[in-house]
Point group: C2
């Protein structure tokens, strides 16, 4: 039996008791609202954890890249998948068509006619129907049509394209009141035009707690909630005890009284900051601040921490954003208490295409 303390560092551990509690909590919130749960697998990238989410009541999963869909389909982890990405180009539309033939249901999102025409051409070429949602930019400033009227216009334009099946609307994140106003108006316009909208898909772990404010949602895509991180705690969406993922790192140098260097750098922790102060929370030393990284070194300032670590000591760090840390690791360790229960290969790591 491997104990957690036997793991060489840096290592990423996942507390499975916490994971299971997090899965249940999110499922209960969505069940109470009658909203289908379609968790985003980008956070864990591990088919076995998607199976836990589905066993707890999720209707299917969300993926961000075709390569992720392929991994989860190959593992038999889900047969109802939403791919929330504009799929463009011959290589990708061919892979998409092959996946549509294999899965019970695979839908994509799109926000422009160029992507829609490419999908329609592929639908004809490969003899499939392609289901899609229209992505709406309800305030985040990334992809998405810019107004309810633009959503209606794109729905009407794309519904005329052969091989495409309009299924509804999608947005990220679900932030009130902007998202509510935008989607209510878009639904009104689509209804007025006589267009059925079976799916309205919201998303984002931080706003999972206020999902009751969006009664028109039919499904919800959250990812981070399964592990949680500094971002989630800062947003008031989780407590430190709800954080399942930790980076175990060894203190390799204490060059000054207050400077501590540990062996997890940006190649493990990444440089994502979000709203956090610093770059992660050291569980054993909550008053210390992680101030930055080199590729293989983490730097911490212990000037505000009365307690100081020893060289050789292992510390546990909750990262700012757990999803991007997962992507840095070939494997993570599923633990219960001080026992390593399972080594999970991060099967969909690095699937950028």
């Amino acid at each position: 039996m491997t104990r957690v303390s036997d793991l060489d560092t840096p290592a990423v551990t996942i507390d499975l008791d916490v994971v299971e509690a997090n899965i249940k909590r999110a499922q209960d919130i969505l069940d109470a609202q009658g909203i289908a749960n379609r968790p985003h697998i980008k956070t864990h990238k591990i088919p076995a954890l998607a199976k836990k989410q589905i066993a707890a009541g999720a209707v299917g999963i969300t993926c961000q890249k075709l390569g992720e869909v392929e991994v989860f389909a190959d593992a038999g982890a889900a047969d109802d998948i939403l791919l929330t990405y504009n799929i463009i180009g011959e290589s990708k539309t061919e892979r998409l068509a092959a996946l549509i033939k294999r899965l019970k249901r695979l839908a994509v999102v799109l926000d422009n006619e160029v992507v829609a025409r490419g999908l329609s051409d592929a639908a004809k070429r490969y003899g499939v129907d392609i289901r899609f949602l229209i992505e709406c930019d309800t305030g985040y400033g990334r992809n998405g049509v810019q107004s309810p009227q633009a959503a209606l216009d794109l729905a009407q334009a794309t519904m005329k394209m052969p091989g495409l099946q309009f299924e509804g609307l999608m947005t990220f994140p679900t932030a009130k009141p902007e998202t509510r106003q935008y989607l209510e108006r878009a639904l009104q316009l689509l209804k007025g035009a006589g267009i059925p909208v079976p799916v309205v898909s919201g998303g984002g772990s931080p706003s999972l707690k206020s999902v009751a404010d969006f009664p028109f949602l039919t499904e919800y895509r959250a990812g981070t909630y399964i592990y949680n991180d500094v971002m989630q705690v800062t947003a008031g969406a989780a407590t430190w005890d709800d954080c399942a993922l930790r980076v175990r790192a060894t203190v390799v140098s204490c060059p000054t009284q207050d400077r501590v260097i540990f062996d997890a750098g940006s190649k493990v922790m990444t440089y994502e900051q979000y709203y956090a102060k610093g770059f992660g929370r050291i569980v054993e030393y909550p008053d210390a601040e992680v101030t930055g990284f080199s590729e293989e070194h983490g730097n911490a300032d212990f000037s505000k921490s009365a307690k100081k670590p020893q060289i050789g000591e292992v510390v546990s760090i909750i990262p700012n954003h757990c999803c991007v840390v997962t992507n840095m690791m070939d494997e993570v360790y599923g633990i219960r208490g001080d026992r390593v229960e399972e080594v999970f290969p991060v099967a969909a790591r690095g699937k950028v295409r």
Copy 2:
């Protein structure tokens, strides 16, 4: 034959003509000063490129983690390796001893007695001698002893430990005048104490051009120079034409007149900023600014670019820091002109232990 334009995106390409010119330029600079070249392989993580560096005159290579040494030793890419890291713990010292037995020369660095005692114990346990340099913090604020006197004290303490062989001093980066003053004083103190210092190892690509200001260096560790990036150009150490690594990405959405979304996010580009404005340079649109990333999306602001791209168009992006981009990819494409000459697996990607 695969053409560059055939590559699905996102993809990382390496212009081999530029790589070969970069290798030669650095070797010529160091040859002119009589300083040995020991390139850091963290930038490329590809044994075939280390072989090119050694064929051009490098005496060996530098690695940052044991896992990198293992990959390059397995590939027969180098038999003289400097591992610039404090190696601590039973698992790692065992791997270190095994590598020392296989290689002509493998040296490590250390900056404290805890690490030194662990290495001395391992030297005895595994029947090897462990060569080491003392890491000096000459102003960077990461690892390293804090003063020339501390370097002497640590040299004297560690030279008494059985199985350890003091070989000299190491620092990063080599930034004048602080590094010069610090190292000159440390060398004076060591000489005064009758301690020979065969190796003085400097490093860092940006300061390669001013290496003549450090006549006491015996070897130099630079990594980034083989590819170059926005950081190197910003530091005046390279031109855009010297940048061999580019991320090819497809424009997947233009939600507004000035907002362009492409399919390379933080999972390819990373969030490293350094001194750069923005997060990379779009070669075809130098007036556009890459403003941020999600995991799979890159956001660019084209408000200052008269020319706008089309959805579906492929752009080439020079990242802020090429080393961390390499680590995100399972493979990169070696190209000449519009032809893909070789697919390089990034063999030491993700070797964090």
